[in-house]
Symmetry: C2
Subunit: 289 residues, 2 copies
């Protein structure tokens, strides 16, 4: 089968054999925001047409391609849900010459009834075949999912990554920042700051004052801010003793692993092909034509 | 004397008699960011030249005009500090035809040594002549100052206002927002959300999901976000029973008063001429030439 993790800003396609082995892959920047006039079919043809021409007929799509801004809106499936429930609720998409199915996103609710949503992460979580524990997918909208009995029973999203970018680009904090790689010492200082009793909105101003007094350099301040934000997120999401499985880009997951360990949790770094394995797992029990 | 509250984006000048009565006033948009080539003297002449021509010779400046980006950098004065200590640490500025003095900003330290700064707010706080209690000056960088024995003993800044603007302008939360006046019901819903156990970074994502599910309209979502941010700030800064004196724009202070009351504090709205009264009070004991 062909599995496609089709997100907002990128597309990852995999040619998979029956046991989930990746036979071929394509990474592209054709995220759903780049698709013009709703012509998702043309983009899919460009990306996986060669595999279709070679005879493959089953295509499983996951991610924001199933959102209101995507190809077809796939209704959310309510938690608790695991790979089997997901495979039973796929949406068929009209496409000449292949059987194309769409993975539903998941929804959950906070205690006060505020809704939660994910699209794509459910497939990555299915890919690590976790029985019990917490899965964390750091990013613009970081997801923290609680898994029990092999199913996602609930989850919470933190806007940390997007807040970081907005604070860097749109506030006085960004004015003194100089682009560069992560400064580990400054990141750790930010993490430590997040661990004190102060509130995030107060800690943010400290990024400014430390710079003003020459105690945080231009190349350090972005890493410090990152430490403050990730530190706050992780301390809110992790209870001591929690086992947290990190799925995502290696660099970001390593920063989260440090923060999780400092908060008393145990981090496990999962490899970056969780989406492919999740697509294969869901595809195995899907109702293909 | 002439008193000038000269901030980043605005300038307010007052002609004051000896007991602090405002005889005349000018509000202008000539904040320090609009001053070109460092020619602060020309802007001051434009704004208060008529009063100088009428014979007034004493000019007291407060606010960001005393910062590194201002006219002359006036060194910070460490807390605890009150109007008398401030009046004893003014910086003289060269200006033809008048005696111009600059109010110092204040500095303090968090428990972990992170510095805190204010410029201008110390003068507004001096203007309400508070003996004991908390002064709150809401804004881009909200200040919460603890006053004891008539002096500011410590303070903390929250980046709430600037974070609001950055989140609205630079994240997915702003995409569904429609400009309009504050929606009181939506603001209260945001406040209530801030009072639950979740973290701010998680509550931010709820602005998105409530909109996605049609439970928060375009004209409501900015007010809801404002309630979430102000609610978090106020709950971090106010302990039940605290008496909080609000200084600033009426509309914003009213929102903060609601949040303070909900957090168990007692809000007092101070009028908007605190800066004028503070300038007069500091000016009375200043060492004029």
């Amino acid at each position: 089968m062909i599995g496609v993790d089709w997100g907002t800003s990128s597309l990852r396609a995999y040619l998979l054999d029956d046991d989930g082995t990746i036979l071929a892959r394509r990474d592209s920047a054709r995220g759903i925001l780049t698709v013009t006039d709703g012509d998702f079919a043309a983009v899919l043809q460009e990306e996986v047409g060669a595999w279709l021409a070679a005879g493959e007929r089953r295509v499983l799509l996951a991610g924001m391609v199933g959102s209101r801004q995507g190809w077809v809106e796939a209704p959310y499936l309510a938690c608790p849900a695991g790979a089997e429930e997901i495979a039973g609720r796929l949406t068929r998409v009209a496409f000449a010459g292949a059987d194309v199915l769409l993975v539903p996103g998941l929804t959950a609710e906070d205690a006060d009834g505020t809704p939660e949503v994910m699209r794509g992460e459910e497939t990555q979580i299915a890919g690590i075949a976790l029985a019990e524990g917490i899965a964390c997918l750091p990013g613009s909208h970081s997801k923290w999912a609680t898994v029990a009995g092999g199913r996602i029973v609930g989850f919470a999203t933190y806007l940390s990554g997007e807040a970081f970018a907005a604070l860097r680009n749109g506030t006085i904090l960004g004015r003194m920042m100089v682009e560069g790689p992560t400064d580990p010492a400054a990141f750790l200082r930010g993490l430590a700051r997040a661990g004190d009793a102060g509130h995030l909105l107060h800690h943010l101003f400290g990024v400014r004052t430390l710079g003003l007094f020459g105690r945080l350099g231009g190349t350090e301040s972005a890493s410090y801010l990152s430490g403050v934000l990730i530190g706050h997120e992780v301390r809110a999401a992790v209870t001591p003793g929690a086992q947290v499985h990190l799925i995502g880009a290696q660099t970001l997951c390593t920063l989260y692993a440090t923060a999780i360990a400092q908060a008393g949790g145990t981090p496990f770094l999962q490899d970056s092909d969780a989406a492919a394995r999740g697509l294969a797992r869901i595809g195995r029990t899907a109702a293909w034509m």
